[in-house]
């Protein structure tokens, strides 16, 4: 931003940039914008609602109740012996954060066309701010999770004896980063491809809802006995995160360093690819949106 007096060009606007030209410095220069977007999203989230942030709790509570009734009691899908509310709450919270990041990143271009058409700033700021905004919701749901956890332990409700928090719970920050990274990666890739052809966007609504059932949320991975099916489940990069989380906090689940490593590599590759595609698209997306 300093004035440049040595005769050098500070800005060059070209038809094409090299694919590696992600300008990290520029992103950093706009960090204030990122924090303001986060503030905007949080402060305006529950304007003119009576219950306000309570909705953060109402929504997962209702979902968990529904799952407990439908999947737990009617369909009788096992939960590795864990108390059903805790089991579902863990899955719902994690999935909520992941799909939130994915959705926010996916709508980057379509939802901000008006803004992007008027002013330039690194477009990546929008999905990145979405990752942080989602943390608020996630945090509150996790708090609910731990309250229910405490209730189970304190009053020794049925199934409490299986609860076993262990050292693997320390991997939790890694899980959050990986969920955010995967959500962002998938999201910006889809968002980039759907700028011109909206088909992608329609397809993705469908895929996301299917994806939830391919993730161990309403059932543990251990119930999948067919090896082919299990392999397919494990290819899903979020599976190992869900299982790892439940293993660490609840003491039941299939933890595997290998699959966790696989998920991590998928995340890195997706992010790299996503950022490259996104950068190419953001330059001309206004012409096609």
């Amino acid at each position: 931003m300093a004035k440049n007096n040595n005769g050098e060009w500070t800005t060059i606007i070209r038809p094409k940039e090299s694919i590696w030209s992600l300008n990290m410095k520029e992103l950093w220069d706009y960090r204030d914008l990122c924090s303001l977007f986060i503030r905007r999203d949080i402060t305006t989230m529950f304007k003119q609602t009576v219950l306000g942030p309570l909705w953060f709790i109402i929504q997962p509570t209702m979902t968990v109740l529904l799952y407990t009734v439908v999947f737990g009691n009617i369909a009788k899908i096992p939960t590795d012996g864990l108390p059903q509310p805790l089991f579902y709450l863990a899955g719902v919270s994690l999935w909520g954060y992941f799909s939130g990041c994915l959705g926010k990143a996916r709508g980057t271009f379509a939802g901000n066309a008006n803004l992007f058409g008027k002013v330039y700033f690194p477009r990546l700021i929008v999905p990145i701010s979405g990752l942080v905004t989602g943390l608020l919701n996630f945090g509150i749901q996790l708090a609910l999770f731990f309250i229910v956890y405490g209730v189970y332990i304190y009053w020794q409700l049925p199934g409490y004896e299986y609860l076993n928090i262990n050292a693997y719970a320390l991997l939790f920050p890694l899980y959050v980063v990986m969920l955010a990274g995967l959500g962002l990666g998938f999201g910006i890739i889809f968002s980039s491809f759907s700028t011109k052809y909206r088909d992608i966007s329609l397809l993705l609504n469908y895929v996301t809802s299917l994806w939830m059932y391919a993730t161990p949320i309403i059932y543990p991975l251990s119930t999948v006995t067919n090896p082919t099916l299990k392999f397919i489940m494990q290819i899903n990069p979020v599976t190992s995160i869900f299982e790892g989380f439940k293993y660490g906090f609840l003491g039941a689940g299939e933890f595997s360093w290998n699959w966790l490593g696989y998920s991590f590599i998928v995340m890195v590759v997706l992010l790299l690819f996503g950022v490259i595609v996104f950068n190419q698209k953001q330059r001309n997306f206004m012409d096609t949106v």
Binding site: I12, P15, L33, T44, R283
Partner: protein, 438 residues
């Protein structure tokens, strides 16, 4: 002077029509040719000049073609042109909203673009919160905004409402708030689209005043797009005229505006001899031609509001019994387009009648400050030879007056022709014996 912005053969290709399976097929083909076969994009050669009025052969048009010019540091450039001439595309490229198809743009320093005021404001947030949000979107840091916050609030004139959600604001207040933020950007290069077209007269004056301070101080470079010639005239030093995506003219702001106005005036050749005369003319005089000239050098010109104008009438005197006729006068009358008589320039109003001699002559009417606002008028010309009309053409000769700043007070006066008045006159306004300020 150093160059602040350099456009190097910049072109921008747009595709018309809808996105459909047809475009998908084209995209695949294009991708195959450029990426797999590594050949040049075939669609780049078939683009057509961007002319709204004509039906083209292909779906691709050049919104801009081969734009190549430099802007000096500290210059204030007005970009003018008709709708669809490529003005907005040019600004979009410069603001990095979209990228050029070929060519590049180089610039020195921070570019801030103002294609709209109040971009990204959230209706649920208060004025104060929106100042921060809008400022950050335009590229300011939080610290910068905090430093200028009082100034911005003061400039916006919305102090009372500053902690009220913006959705409760009137649209005018929203614009004021947005402009206040933008006015305090302090970029090296400022790119402005017609944001001044909104808001009331008071706000427009304030906005133009601020723009003038921005452009005059500290060698800041400004690119300004507008349809309002008055604001271009008062703000800009130089001008660029775009037409169908190419640069048609570059020069000083005044020259560019004149060029633009003249290029958009249908030039009617005045075939004086063929015009019907009033019944009863004697035919002793015959008006052969009428020209609009610049009085300083007798070059042809267009009539401009407030500028000096010379109307030259060529005529012939014939069929006289003697070698001359006495008691002659000449008169030009001006009617507006609704044929209401506005003014008369008859020689007898100021001068004695005179003698006319046989042969070809010319008469010059010199008007030091043309008092007519921009618009179309009809002239009448009468040559009276010895008490009888020798030749008389009644309100048939077209005169199109182009807009200029009559009172020389800069563009912050209303464009005079818009207010519906036709005739202007020099005047003063004094309150309690003291003249008002401009």
């Amino acid at each position: 002077m150093a160059t602040a912005i350099e456009f190097n053969h910049v072109s921008k290709l747009y595709r018309l029509g809808l996105v459909s399976t047809g475009t998908f097929r084209e995209d695949i083909k294009r991708w195959w040719i450029t990426s797999v076969q590594k050949k040049e994009d075939p669609y780049l050669t078939i683009g057509e000049t961007n002319d709204r009025g004509t039906k083209g052969e292909s779906n691709f048009v050049w919104a801009l073609r081969d734009i190549d010019f430099k802007v000096e540091q500290g210059d204030v450039v007005g970009i003018i042109g008709k709708n669809g001439a490529g003005k907005s595309t040019l600004l979009k490229l410069l603001s990095r909203i979209t990228s050029p198809t070929t060519g590049d743009i180089r610039a020195k320093g921070r570019i801030a673009s103002l294609l709209e005021v109040g971009t990204g404001m959230h209706p649920e947030m208060t004025g104060r919160e929106n100042i921060f949000l809008n400022g950050a979107i335009l590229g300011m840091t939080k610290a910068e905004i905090t430093r200028k916050l009082d100034e911005i609030i003061d400039f916006s004139g919305c102090e009372r409402y500053i902690d009220t959600p913006v959705k409760r604001y009137s649209s005018g207040m929203r614009v004021r708030l947005g402009f206040a933020v933008a006015a305090h950007l302090d970029p090296d290069i400022l790119v402005v689209d017609e944001v001044l077209a909104v808001g009331d007269a008071e706000f427009q004056k304030k906005a133009i005043g601020k723009m003038q301070t921005i452009s005059k101080g500290e060698g800041r470079t400004v690119l300004f797009v507008s349809h309002n010639m008055d604001s271009v005239r008062s703000l800009c030093r130089s001008g660029v005229v775009l037409k169908n995506g190419t640069v048609e003219f570059m020069g000083t702001a005044t020259d560019s505006i004149d060029f633009y106005l003249e290029a958009n005036t249908e030039h009617e050749d005045i075939a004086i001899p063929e015009l019907t005369r009033e019944p009863g003319v004697t035919g002793q005089a015959r008006i052969t031609d009428l020209q609009y000239l610049n009085p300083t050098d007798d070059t042809p010109t267009y009539p401009y509001t407030g500028r000096a104008l010379k109307i030259r009438i060529h005529y012939e005197i014939e069929n006289l019994i003697e070698s001359f006729a006495s008691n002659c006068y000449i008169s030009i009358g001006v009617n507006d387009d609704r044929n209401m008589s506005l003014m008369s320039f008859a020689s007898y109003l100021k001068y004695s009648n005179f003698n006319m001699h046989k042969g070809s002559h010319y008469a010059d009417l010199i008007i030091p400050h043309l008092p007519l606002t921009a618009g179309k008028y009809k002239l009448s010309v009468l040559i009276n030879v010895n008490k009888y009309a020798g030749d008389f053409i009644r309100s048939k000769i077209p005169m199109e007056v182009l807009d200029d700043d009559f009172f020389h007070v800069g563009g912050h006066s209303m464009p005079t022709h818009v207010s519906g008045h036709i005739v202007l006159a020099e005047h003063c306004w004094c309150i309690d014996g003291k003249e008002l300020e401009y």
